[in-house]
Amino acid sequence: MSLAEPATLPVATSAAPRLDVPKRLVARFKASLPAYLLLLPSLVFLALFTYGAMGRVLIDALYQRATPKAPVRFVGLDNIAAVLADPAFTGAVVNNLIYAVGTAIPSIGLALLFALTLSRTHAVSSALRAALFLPVLIPMVAASALFMFIFLPNVGLLDYYIGRLLPVLPNWLGDPDIALYAIMIITIWKNAGYYMLFFLAGLQAVPEDVMEAAHLDGAGPYQRLRNIILPELKPTFLFVIVIAILNAVTQVDHVFVMTQGGPSNSTNLVLFYIYQQAVEHYDVGKASAATLLTLAALMGLTALSFRTMANREGGP
């Protein structure tokens, strides 16, 4: 993606005397007016719901919400300190980290396997690709409804078919040691087919003649994967990792529907914590402080990945 070129001044006026500067600016503004008018509708909504919202988060994080006893007051960094000292928040951060790593690695690994084995157009591979892609299209809420039965103790699908082989039947969503991993399964099921698409697109860049030459030279499947395919897929990996982490922070519908963050906060994730603070505890200050910290972490991460990508593209 090439960035917009910097504005260039008209040649005729560039040598004009200093006094003409305002005139030139007016002329430039007049010339730009149609573009501004075209951008206006988008900018209004972006200003309201993105930049304005961002500013509000910054301000709200610095204020204590009015209570029956006290009016709104400026508290500086108190909200941030309170959030950082709240074991529910730190717990949610830890859960979210486990959740992010534990869903990203399996779903990306599976996506790579699916893409490698289904990369060519063929009736069978198309059908398999569609089967693996279906979960992407259903709402997380619907996936949760299905998995609620799958995880149901004793009579559910999992216990009915696999649980019987275990010495003790696990209470998938009721056991604080297991619940987080149970909801991770839904995410992996839902996202692997999505990431597969990006690997399929990336694989199209692998030159076929190089693959054939490598095979003629006696390179086995593992060597071809390591030395030809994986290096070619590096940008795709980076991209998919960023998406997987963003998804881990923004997809929490299953927590709402299935566990409400429980049992004993074991499935509480950051966005659910933000929701709880804002909607259940009416503490906009704390919710904003948590939002701010999360946004800062995510923006740092995406900026870093953009930079890495830019460096890679600029390199030899």
Binding site: L3, S32, F45, Y51, D159, Y160, F198, Y275, A278, L298
Partner: protein, 289 residues
């Protein structure tokens, strides 16, 4: 072994006689079957009569006496036609406004030179990085102050501008030869006329790709409508389904839950099965949503 050879014939990036790629392919086939099990269960459970008992609920073998009772019950408990209508209004409303905003902004970035172009471009780029889902708290208070709490317009509004859509249209418009526009210019066509009669008709594939991404993501959205909507008759499908599931879960009516879920996800899945190729290529171009 014949069957596997045939299935595998011209599939992967590998050659005949090697065992590893074949095993990989078999593993994928097995996993694809596992991936379909929740859907399979949903269909089987929907058609299973309550008389089969709770212990048969997990059977993946269809019942010999299929019934539509569960569908009828689900239809009675949840107001699915209303939920579907609300979701349709939300998705269509968002998409229509987005088409206008992204066309105009995409054109400005693709074809016009103006002061502050790169600064404004970066402002758009920032929206992609900000993860709007996280801004639910300030946006909810804004929607409330605008008097749009508990309205479908309030659900739609934050999505009226789309940086992703703007970039997609910019890309599409840049690919259109300027000669076409010059000809129209000589004929005296205004800016809006040129956009409407040249750029828009020639960019239909990009519009349809964007429509697929936009509708899919807002069709499935849950958290934001959950926060904005209070009245039961304004619930979209996702919020309706979650309330419905809670109701039916208490009565252990899993067949009814399966039927309700089926009703919610069927429209999008059927559309996907018809326009598979379109969907898949749209998702690939989507990149960062």
């Amino acid at each position: 072994m014949k069957l596997i050879d045939w299935l595998y014939k011209d599939t992967p990036l590998a050659t005949r006689g090697e065992i590893t790629p074949k095993l990989g392919f078999l593993l994928t086939v097995l996993l694809a079957i596992v991936w379909l099990i929740p859907f399979l269960w949903m269909v089987v459970a929907t058609l299973r009569p309550a008389s089969d008992g709770i212990n048969a609920m997990a059977e993946l073998m269809p019942s010999l006496k299929p019934t539509l009772d569960n569908v009828r019950d689900a239809w009675e408990i949840g107001d699915f036609p209303r939920y579907t209508l609300n979701t349709t209004i939300i998705c269509a409303g968002i998409l229509l406004v987005q088409f206008v905003t992204i066309t105009l902004a995409g054109f400005a970035f693709a074809r016009l030179d103006f002061a502050g172009k790169s600064l404004i471009f970066y402002l758009f780029l920032m929206q992609l990085m900000l993860v709007p889902v996280l801004l639910i708290v300030p946006n909810l208070s804004l929607v409330a102050r605008l008097g749009l709490y508990d309205t479908l317009a309030g659900v739609m509004m934050p999505f009226f501008a789309s940086a992703f859509g703007t970039f997609l249209m910019r890309q599409a418009f840049e690919a259109i030869p300027t000669e076409l526009e010059d000809a129209a210019l000589i004929d005296g066509a205004s800016l809006i006329q040129r956009i409407r009669h040249i750029y828009v008709p020639l960019s239909m594939p990009s519009f349809s790709a964007f429509a697929i991404i936009s509708v899919t993501s807002h069709w499935n959205d849950f958290l934001w409508p959950l926060m904005v909507i209070n009245s039961p008759d304004k619930r979209p499908l996702t919020v309706g389904l979650s309330v419905f599931t809670k109701t039916a879960e208490g009565t252990q009516a899993w067949g009814t839950i399966a039927a309700g879920t089926l009703m919610v996800i069927a429209p999008l899945l059927i559309t996907f099965l018809i326009f598979q190729k379109r969907f898949i290529s749209s998702f690939v171009t989507s990149g960062i949503k």
